[in-house]
Point group: C2
Chain length 195, copies 2
DNA sequence: CAACAATGTATGCAGTGACAACAATGTTGT
DNA sequence: ACAACATTGTTGTCACTGCATACATTGTTG
């Protein structure tokens, strides 16, 4: 039977699902534990068993968010083939897609801000950075990039992140997005090209 | 006598000052109207006379924030002399200084997100963009940049913003900051240089 | 000096996150 | 099989928040 899918053993994942949806719809501010509990037909104290406080829920969201980001980036990479520039372009596009579709989640992922002891979140962020780094390393191996890999990698990451922020903050029209990605990639390649 | 500096006619500005400090100390989430009122020795309903709701206070903060950003950028510019690259470097450095010192404020300025009818905030953001644009135009006039000014300007802005976000989110060590600025400027100039 | 507007006060409402005591429901060791 | 236990969810409470309204005070002005 299992008339009720939740209410029994699935509360934790149900909360995460509902929270992610709520995040997408109303942003972090709007997300309310009590509201989630209500939606899931559960008492307002129930979430506490799974997440000691609100921040714990947000941390969990951020953590899984990084995981999903990583898989999406990898998917884009494998689809892009072996050449460096197409791979770069695909990665940038995929990242910004994620960042604009799940803006609130990404903000949450980043602004797990300064909070001491967000080890798990930090750890979850690793792969995405590694991926970025590997891409840079490939570019250098292919003789297309020069300079300190760490630095140029961070600058690239920053540019992507910034474009997403600008779009999400309505300071740039979404219709410009594709052009911006193109310009950013092109400039990056030219700017980091060996002399 | 005027024993009490506030409580009479200064509440509005006093609120803005206290709010900005609170923002710096605890971020937007932490900022509480009641807390501010308490600090200023005023009833918790008083702020309502000056800001109909919390968001109005935040909007006002964002607005003045853009103003201050603009003046700081201009100050950096005039101090940098007339040559393009030093001006560019100075602007980037000044922007990121602002962004890392007043992180919460900047976030607020940007994530006055999508909210319909934040005309004043949007208007206040204008000058900073204009300044950026003028800088690009100068670079082009000096024959140092090529390409669509709007696009490369946005990409530059995005890179700055992204670096600030990375630092503020503790995803990059602050000690790397100067090097990153240098790399970003250098790459930008090379990347947008005429062929 | 009386009418008026601006500013701040007092009180109450609904909503929230956190917390603790309790009940129900598996799970497990003997 | 059954008693002890752990997990999970419930209920009630507290302190806090933003918001709203009715009221008092004060300063300005006709």
């Amino acid at each position: 039977m299992t008339e009720r899918p939740y209410h029994h053993g699935q509360l934790r994942t149900a909360l995460l699902d509902a929270a992610e949806r709520s995040l997408r719809e109303g942003g972090e501010e709007q997300l309310s534990l009590r509201e989630l509990a209500r939606e899931l037909g559960v008492s307002h104290g129930a979430p506490r068993r799974h997440f000691p406080d609100r921040q714990a829920l947000l941390d969990a969201l951020a953590e899984t968010g990084f995981g999903r980001l990583d898989t999406q980036l990898r998917a884009a990479l494998t689809e892009a083939g072996d050449d460096f520039v197409p791979r770069l372009r695909a990665t940038v596009a995929a990242y910004i897609r994620f960042a604009t579709e799940d803006a609130a989640l990404l903000e949450l992922m980043f602004t797990s801000k300064h909070r001491p002891g967000a080890d798990r979140v930090a750890a979850a962020a690793g792969p995405a950075f590694t991926l970025m780094n590997d891409l840079i390393v490939q570019g250098q191996a292919a003789g297309e990039l020069a300079g300190d890999p760490e630095r140029i990698g961070i600058v690239l990451f920053a540019t992507m992140q910034g474009i997403a922020t600008l779009i999400n903050g309505d300071m740039v029209e979404p219709k410009l997005l594709d052009g911006l990605v193109e310009t950013a990639v092109e400039q990056f390649v030219r700017g980091a090209r060996p002399a």
